[in-house]
């Protein structure tokens, strides 16, 4: 087991290196030049200034030199400075990561608390109208674009219920009530989007498990429905659901990118969108590396939790 973990962790290194190299090369061989963007309509003809800015940003060096310099910094947890704001990227991310993590965690929590029970109900009441309704609903949840849901909630809230989400984000340790109030709406929307897949998977897995012999035995022993479903069936049905939780991390990230923009959360996703739009390469590089690390780690955690949950799996 330990050997396995070490091997997997070592494998992360080339993967992440590959990601950073890909992103880096893309930024350096793009037709669009961040310097043209910085000088804009006013200074587009000022070649001297452009050369000077290029030098300040280190863009006049060779691409590989730039890459290794950046990589060297990353090893010391130094992601460099933003091209646009000139501020330290790591400092900025330090404030933003907790926001996105909180949003992601709340959304995931909601989707688990919402999706799994519905999946179970749908399985127990297989082929009733309730089952059809819940299944149709879950496919719909997969189909509704998160941003459409979000702006609809805003519009409906503002016009018919005189409701607006809080205007200013505060960290949970500053003002928990306000924090939860501003987090609630995006977390629920994102949670809904995530629960579609969970409902469906829980349902199929439950159906599968309910047909197994040991469940029949449990019924035969005269155990109550509650005990059979919760203690015997659900535990085993949930193993693949855990995988889905891990595989949904990229969905979570994408949703956060959109929802942070709409619901005024100062998270990583909002930083990414504004940086990508202004060609702030070091920031985009840093964020991509960060998210790629999270994705890779979550895959590892999924595999490990598989082993923990299913006695048949051993590494």
């Amino acid at each position: 087991m330990q050997g396995y973990i070490v091997r997997r962790l070592l494998l992360m290194v080339p993967t992440l290196l590959g990601v950073t190299l890909f992103v880096f090369l893309l930024t350096r061989f793009t037709p669009a030049d961040v310097v043209d963007r910085l000088t804009g309509e006013v200074g587009y003809q000022d070649e001297a200034l452009k050369a000077q800015i290029r030098e300040e940003l280190g863009l006049n060096q060779g691409v590989l030199t730039q890459y290794f310099k950046w990589l060297g910094g990353v090893l010391h947890l130094d992601l460099g400075e933003s091209f646009i704001s000139g501020r330290d990227i790591w400092d900025e991310l330090k404030n933003r990561v907790p926001v996105s993590v909180e949003l992601g965690a709340l959304a995931m929590l909601f989707s688990i608390l919402f999706g799994i029970p519905i999946g179970v109900i749908s399985a127990i009441r297989q082929d009733t109208w309730l089952d059809y309704l819940l299944r149709g609903g879950s496919i719909l949840l997969l189909a509704v674009p998160v941003f459409f849901l979000a702006i609809s909630v805003l519009a409906v809230g503002a016009w018919w219920f005189d409701w607006a989400p809080p205007s200013r984000y505060t960290a949970p340790w500053e003002d928990l009530q306000n924090n939860l109030a501003i987090m609630a709406t995006p977390a629920i929307i994102l949670g809904l989007a995530l629960s579609g897949a969970k409902i469906r998977l829980t349902r199929t897995q439950m159906l599968e498990v309910l047909r197994q012999d040991y469940i029949r035995t449990a019924w035969a022993k005269g155990l109550s429905e509650r005990v059979v479903i919760l203690r015997h069936a659900l535990r085993n049905a949930l193993i693949p659901v855990v995988t889905v939780i891990g595989l949904q991390i990229p969905v979570l990230v994408a949703g956060a990118v959109i929802l942070e923009n709409i619901f005024l959360l100062p998270g990583v996703g909002r930083y990414l969108v504004q940086s990508a739009a202004s060609f702030d390469y070091p920031v985009v590089q840093g964020i991509t590396l960060l998210i790629a690390t999270v994705v890779v780690l979550s895959n590892l955690v999924v595999d490990l939790s598989y082993a923990a949950l299913d006695p048949r799996v051993r590494y």
Binding site: L11, P14, T15, L16, G18, V19, F22, V23, L26, T27, T30, P31, A32, G136, I139, L140, L142, A143, V144, P145, V146, F147, F148, I151, S152, L154, A155, A158, W159, T204, L207, P250, V251, V253, A254, V257, I258, N261, L272, V273, A276, A277, F279, V284, I287, T288, I291, A292, V295, V296
Partner: protein, 318 residues
């Protein structure tokens, strides 16, 4: 093989199909599909409607019609047909979904927008499934060092977080149709290639593959005639589910401002514009939002049904 799988799944009374003319066969097959998978059939109908929209847009039917007849069809207009006076109108016979802030017919723009969604959806998925099939079969079939190398590349590929990578690629390489389509397609290939690789590895163990090799078939021949046909259903299933995802990805890009530039309408951009009119005319957002939802819904349920029918392991389950 794919065809066998399909036949085996059919009820015994429906056979033999081959003796009847093909339109009858097709109609019967559809009828069977409709009875067996009503939701999937609904999805199919929606998809066909959408293809019809896209075709109408591709042929620019409204504009041609008005050139031939010297007038408009009545409810379908060229996408840039704007009457500034008639802006923000409600639903009417003349404007099935009302008009937008420039007095353009929303229904017509949805029809034209279907072309973008269909194009991006189908071509992105074609790219991703083709890539996935190539990478998956080669990696699974040859194994060894090849496989290790390919899998490390796929690792990298999968670690690139979807929308984030997409935003980045498009902002760097430009927001044109080719970049957006290829980027969505390429990013979707990694996951699919893993599934195909797994299938190839298990097929490789089969006796007939071994037999073919003994007879002296080349690798290429084995790949093309024995392996590929057997993973083809996976490609089809992956594609039918992937199209919805690709359409969503394009619209999310457009919504964030990284989508296709005007003047050609796309649903995502219509939604993005409608954001500023949410308070004065929410219908501007509702229609493209609904179009997106319904279309993605259709591809999802159709894909589900197709998987149930095509995937031997799932046969009999619902």
């Amino acid at each position: 093989m794919a065809t066998h799988v399909l036949e085996e799944a059919l009820p015994a009374g429906a056979l033999p199909f081959e003796t009847r003319p093909w339109p009858v066969r097709a109609a019967r097959g559809l009828l069977w599909f409709a009875r067996r998978k009503p939701l999937g059939f609904l999805g199919l109908l929606i998809i066909l409607t959408m293809l019809l929209f896209a075709a109408a847009a591709a042929l620019d039917v409204p504009a041609r019609y008005s050139q031939v007849r010297g007038g408009n069809i009545g409810f379908l207009y060229p996408y840039d047909h704007q009457v500034l006076r008639d802006r923000q109108q409600g639903v009417s016979l003349k404007h099935l979904m009302g008009t937008d802030n420039l007095g353009r017919d929303t229904f017509s723009r949805i029809v034209y927008g279907a072309k973008v969604s269909v194009f991006i959806g189908f071509s992105a998925v074609a790219i991703s499934q083709a890539l996935a099939a190539i990478v998956g079969t080669i990696s699974g079939y040859y194994g060894g060092r090849f496989d290790v190398l390919f899998q490390r590349v796929v690792d990298i590929w999968q670690a690139l977080p979807g929308l984030v990578a997409l935003i980045f690629i498009v902002s760097v390489l430009g927001n044109n149709l080719v970049v957006i389509t290829v980027a969505i397609g390429a990013l979707g290939a990694a996951g699919a290639s893993r599934i195909i690789r797994g299938a190839v590895i298990s097929i490789k163990q089969n006796a007939y593959v071994e037999a073919a090799r003994v007879v002296g078939a080349t690798d290429l021949r084995i790949l093309l005639f024995h392996i590929l046909p057997n993973v083809f259903h996976l490609v089809i299933i992956g594609a039918s589910i992937g199209i919805g995802g690709a359409i969503l990805a394009e619209s999310a890009l457009a919504f964030l401002g990284f989508g296709l530039p005007p003047p050609y309408p796309s649903w995502g951009r219509m939604l993005n514009v409608a954001r500023e009119f949410l308070t004065s005319n929410p219908m501007m957002a509702i229609w493209p939002g609904l179009a997106l939802t319904v279309t993605v819904f259709a591809f999802n349920v159709f894909g589900d049904a197709l998987r149930d029918v095509l995937d031997p392991r799932l046969r009999g389950s619902r």
